[in-house]
Symmetry: C2
DNA sequence: GTGAAAGCGCTAACAA
DNA sequence: TTGTTAGCGCTTTCAC
């Protein structure tokens, strides 16, 4: 194979020479600052086009102390919920002329820390993060220096940072009310272990309060915290073997819903005939499950968009030397009724 | 709210002053080059830790002409297939000490071009791309200057670039053979419109050849190209109303499979009793559909890992001044048998 | 072993 | 309206 010579990278100087002007003039037409004679502008633009020149973002960012890009740290790219969120973020960024970099913490606080540092070293203008930990000292440090930061989907106590969440409390309230209205009075709830920061706590709380509001009492035996698929099956067996069997199950996560469905199938329990099942988070396949799943829908796209827009606002404010008071925005979930709780789909 | 003064960013100079050494010494301990007295190294490290200093990646990259990061351009983040691919890429990057930046072309050639330019301006060391177009002049340009580049999941004709794909031809061959072995002889295939570059062409070709190999003839009426959900339903109606009804359907995309399932449901056709259904791509929910779906599984994780590893190799080679001969790696799909084609799951 | 200084490619005063 | 020049924060010769 021929050894292709590594063509030296084009710089602003090459353009300047080609156009017969100084490098500052080239810079000016690229950045559209100052007045430039039309003829000059044309010459320069022609040179840029002819050479197919693209400015070095590193050099530009170094000088300007900004990169016009923001970072997103997600904790679970596998969850389809986040894909919808991502779309909202992408759209907002695109509209504002920001690029978006994505990193995955896999819900590991250590990896999360590395990801944040990575973004800081890259001089990103701001960060949106779905926090994996609630005591990361970096959070406080960033908040202290008013670094543009938005928490998404999870609240972190003790730090004042812009936060965009769904009303998880209301989510399970909606779910329980729906179930209660259908005459269910032994409603079990399944959760993955909460890590202290997750919306799952709020969802559990909403469940309890909704029960109380409907005159039902909270039976600890109906609260199942499972970690693995096997846990889930074991918990289900136990639940169905005792005396006070549940007549409905509330799942708090869409993967967990699949595991519950598996367990139910294994145990030959029919949904919704034998038991009602209500899931959290709409997904592409919610309506294709057997039976089509009644779910709590979170406004994922809107959450993403809101988070990105707030962040971009904060970045702009900081450039003007202002500091915005952090706020928490809470968006409302809705109930999507299908067949898994006993209703007939029209 | 108090106006927090934007703390001036720490630089290598601050560390040098704190440690009582020159900035070059600080640079040396950070980069682990040269010999450094243990005492000096410790002093510097202490200063770095004390100040919580993080080097500016822009400055460093500008000087070193490299960023130790690679870019990934995906065409459809919504497809769960890509999430598995992504995991493989992430793992490989992490192991090699590279960071990964992700951009989304949404299968739009124009956006794809912008994404590539964005990455080039950022001086990324290499790019993995799931091409959205086959005639992007940038491809040839990059190939010509031996820029580290890997095509993923789709081949592009006319340019010599490292490519990692699944054997789509074999995928549909497997599918058709399975169906034929079950006695099906009117096998329909559903595809989204191919954009000239997509694996769908190869999948269609595999379908035709497999039919021939099994002594079945290709009936154009059984090849359905649909764009929307409505198309899908219409096509299905037409298919089932005619004389030569199909006894099996081969879907070539996992979202399309959901649409097919919807259409079948609407038309009251039972799977697998009335018709067999075989899907392409394993997903988390394949086995939870009604009925559990028999699918062609692509080695998604492995594809991602392979692509990233090849790219990183190419980057290293280029740094040594060598040029690697581009190769195409083709990984093998497998058949995952469940219940949607009539088998009984044990 | 360590420091001084040049420069990576660009932007933004400051002059002209 | 345009050119000259001083850095942005870092790495890397080249001296010592």
């Amino acid at each position: 194979m021929t050894d292709i010579p590594a063509k030296r990278k084009l710089t602003i100087e090459d353009v300047a020479r080609q156009a017969g002007v100084s490098i500052s003039t080239v810079s000016r037409v690229m950045n559209n600052t100052d007045y430039i004679a039309d003829a000059t502008r044309r010459k320069v633009q022609d040179a840029i086009d002819a050479l197919d020149y693209r400015p070095n973002a590193l050099a530009r960012g170094l000088k300007q102390m900004k990169t016009d890009s923001i970072g997103l740290i997600l904790s679970d790219l596998q969850n389809p919920f986040w894909l919808m969120v991502l779309e909202g973020i992408e759209d907002a960024c695109q509209e504002a002329g920001y690029s978006l970099l994505i990193l995955n913490s896999r819900d590991d606080p250590e990896k999360e820390g590395k990801n944040i540092k990575e973004f800081l070293m890259r001089q990103l203008d701001g960060i949106i993060i779905n926090p994996a930990s609630e005591d990361n000292p970096l959070f406080a440090a960033l908040a202290a220096e008013a670094f543009p930061l938005v928490f998404l989907n999870r609240r972190v106590k003790g730090v004042e940072v812009d936060t965009v969440v769904a009303d998880n409390f209301k989510g399970t309230m909606l779910a329980v009310s729906h179930l209660a209205a259908l005459g269910k009075n032994r409603i079990a709830i399944f959760l993955y272990p909460a890590n202290g920061i997750s919306p799952r706590q709020e969802r559990l709380e909403g469940y309890k309060q909704a029960l109380a509001a409907h005159g039902l009492e909270t039976d600890p035996a109906l609260i199942k915290i499972v970690e693995t698929k096997e846990d889930c099956l074991a918990a289900m067996k136990q639940l169905l073997s005792g005396s006070g069997k549940p007549d409905a199950i509330l799942s708090t996560n869409n993967r967990l819903t699949l595991e519950i469905l598996d367990a139910l199938g294994t145990l030959n329990i029919a949904v919704p005939q034998d038991i009602a099942l209500l899931g959290y988070d709409e997904t592409e396949w919610s309506k294709h499950l057997n039976p089509p799943l009644t779910t709590i829908r979170q406004p994922a796209y809107e959450m993403g968009r809101e988070a990105a827009e707030r962040l971009i606002l904060a970045i702009a404010a900081k450039r003007r030397g202002e500091t915005m008071q952090p706020v928490t925005v809470q968006l409302e979930p809705t109930l999507v009724i299908r067949e898994s709780c006993g209703e007939i789909l029209q």
